[in-house]
């Protein structure tokens, strides 16, 4: 008489084990690459202008900017009067655990900001580095970085 119940138990156990769990949402966030709470890119409301890699350093970078920045890059330089704001975010690359054949952002390296205020010809460059994005005081090499940023070409985004 018990047999049907045993059968039922076996069937339900095998059903449960074949049904895999959904992954907890937190495990799917790229934590290494995420920005600390102290700095939010999405609050800047800038849009993507460019994306590039460096195979020597194994880094990848995303360049955001406002309307003025887009115009500045298209002109390969700074038009004297218009203000702009550019934001550069750089990560180490890591292998994509979900796809053999892809690399995705890994540890956050830095955020750089290049801005030009209205009616002011000077450029302001600021660098924040490390997981916690600490402001860097050292200004050596800033000129090179400014030239590098302004030399980037906008992506073709139809």
């Amino acid at each position: 008489m018990r047999t049907p119940y045993y059968l039922l138990a076996i069937i339900s156990v095998s059903l449960f084990t074949s049904c895999e769990q959904t992954t907890p949402p937190a495990e799917l966030i790229n934590k290494k690459a995420s920005l600390p709470g102290t700095f939010s890119i999405s609050d800047l409301h800038q849009r993507l202008l460019s994306s590039f890699y460096n195979t020597k350093d194994n880094t990848n970078t995303v360049l955001y900017g406002d309307k003025g920045a887009e115009a500045a890059l298209q002109k390969h330089g700074i038009s004297a009067s218009s203000p702009f704001s550019l934001t550069l975010v750089t990560w180490h690359q890591q292998e994509d655990p979900h796809w053999f054949g892809a690399r995705i952002p890994g540890d956050l390296i830095s955020v750089e900001r290049l801005t030009k205020a209205d009616g002011d010809d000077r450029l302001s460059y600021q660098k924040l580095a490390g997981k916690q994005l600490i402001a860097i005081k050292d200004t050596v090499g800033n000129g090179d970085r400014i030239r590098f940023i302004l030399a980037q070409q906008p992506l073709i985004q139809p």
């Binding site: 907890p24 966030i29 920005l35 939010s40 460019s50 890699y53 460096n54 020597k56 655990p97 053999f100």
Partner: protein
């Protein structure tokens, strides 16, 4: 009383099972046109583990022929051959052959192939870690350098020259009825992907619903209203370590609406190619390609991307 009941039910089931044996779907063996071309140790793995469903050389064992199992076997062979058939390798363009192999290796790594129920009945079909490493090494060995590719530079320059004249007034619509969403360019970047398997670079954008879901930890399952866009460009290598974006290849969308898109796992899929934004596919069934490759991500709401909180 109870005993008699179970006996009757048992006898009834036996009759039905026996009867079922006479209903047999057909598994045919169409001619092989051009078989997979790969080194023996690579090909052997595919032949042993995959050919029953992904070639015309299906070898149905006696225990596969018992109904109702046989229905499932026949359906798997039909569906399997449709998406990937190693016996028609010659019908694929070289780039598509390469892409299918990378997809195949990824399906094995994700544990999605060979299909679980098949593995239980055919334990010898399991691909070992060692075999998987061999397959991966083979794929990596097939990659070639993309340094200073003049054809790609030329493609990019041509797009830059013609981009403005190609702007359309009407938004294109995909074959499954999804209208192109130009606003994706104003969304946040939730990740990027450097695809060394096919020489492209990608950016994955998320709309406001997606960005908010990431901030609130509501990213599995993703809420209705979430939209992802993924754009792809050629990679240009200047030979000094700098990789930049070349010609625009395509943009793809995944729109979450668990009711409207129930038949495609709750997501509306669309792909628009080249700056002309040509809708992809020959029929609305192009979505099978999307859902099949995204299938191993079923525990992650069919999404590959690990979003960045920003």
């Amino acid at each position: 009383m109870m005993k008699k009941f179970f006996l009757t039910v048992g006898a009834g089931l036996t009759v039905i099972l026996l009867g079922l044996q006479f209903f047999r779907p057909k598994i045919d063996h169409p001619l092989l046109t051009g078989d997979l071309d790969a080194p023996k140790e690579v090909k052997d793995v595919f032949v042993r583990a995959c050919y029953d469903c992904h070639s015309n050389e299906t070898n149905v064992r006696w225990y596969d022929k018992i109904q109702p199992v046989y229905w499932q076997v026949a359906a798997d062979v039909r569906e399997g051959r449709k998406g990937l058939n190693f016996s028609h390798w010659d019908k694929l363009a070289p780039a598509d052959r390469k892409a299918k192999l990378w997809e195949a290796v990824n399906q094995i790594e994700a544990g999605a192939m060979p299909i679980k129920s098949y593995q239980i009945v055919h334990p010898d079909s399991k691909v070992s870690e060692k075999e998987l490493s061999k397959l991966k090494a083979y794929l990596l060995g097939q990659l070639h350098s993309i340094t200073n590719d003049t054809a790609k530079l030329h493609d990019r320059d041509k797009q830059l020259r013609t981009i403005n004249s190609e702007k359309q007034n009407d938004l294109p619509v995909s074959l499954n009825g999804i209208t192109y969403i130009p606003d994706y360019k104003n969304w946040q970047v939730i990740s990027t992907s450097d695809r060394f398997d096919n020489g492209t670079m990608r950016v994955i954008y998320g709309n406001d619903v997606a960005v908010k879901a990431v901030k609130n930890g509501k990213n599995n399952p993703w809420p209705d209203g979430t939209i992802f866009a993924k754009a792809a460009w050629d990679k240009l290598d200047d030979g000094k370590g700098n990789i930049s974006a070349g010609a625009f290849k395509q943009v793809e969308f995944m729109i979450k609406d668990s009711k409207k898109y129930k038949s495609t796992n709750g997501w509306g899929f669309a792909r628009f190619k080249t700056p002309k934004l040509v809708p992809y596919g020959k029929t609305a069934m192009f979505t099978t390609e999307c859902t099949n490759c995204h299938q191993p991500m079923k525990n992650n709401d069919f999404v590959f991307t690990f979003p960045i909180k920003n």
